[in-house]
Amino acid sequence: MNESKNRARRRAIIARSLAVMTCAATLAACVQIDTPDKPIEINLNINIRQEVVYRLDGDAKKLIEQNSEIF
């Protein structure tokens, strides 16, 4: 009776450790994918897409023309 109980316990322990290892492996893989390989850089220069500037250019010209006292 004791023998079979022990066996069952051992099996449970092995199964649990396997599950933990699998989880750990999955997590490790996930972390590796998500970690950026380059340090995060904060660019202080104004970086505005040209496309946006072209879209707003006509409106900006109009604003400057209509409010010449502040430009």
């Binding site: 505005i48 897409r49 946006v52 500037v53 879209r55 707003l56 900006a60 006292e69 502040i70 430009f71």
Partner: protein, 139 residues
Amino acid sequence: MTGNDKMRVKMWKPTGLALAAVAATAAIALAVPSAMAQRDPAYAAARAAGQVGEQPDGYLGFATAPTPAIRALVEDINIKRKAAYTERAQATGSTVQQFAFTSGCNLIANTKPGEKYQAPDGRWLTRDSSPPVRNPSCP
């Protein structure tokens, strides 16, 4: 009766046109003064003297250390500019920074020879007859 009605219609049309003409004249009369509004003489002088200049971000900056009066003048104009940019940014679905930057591109392009402007690298340059040094994103 029908003839009388026709007469009435004919009488109304010129009146309508006249009213439209009056309204159009009034609109032009109202619009012209705002478009013709001139720079404050102190601001115009500071610009011409190269004490203040245009920055790439769409605001005025100091090319040389400002007097308190010039500092106050520039800060006042920059507040008004920011209000104008904010209003237009909302109307065009852009950010204030995007709209201000686009205006800055134009304002630097509009500088007259002798006036100061700031290059993308931060140096204050004097505008000459050649095209100004602007951010590569400028149109």
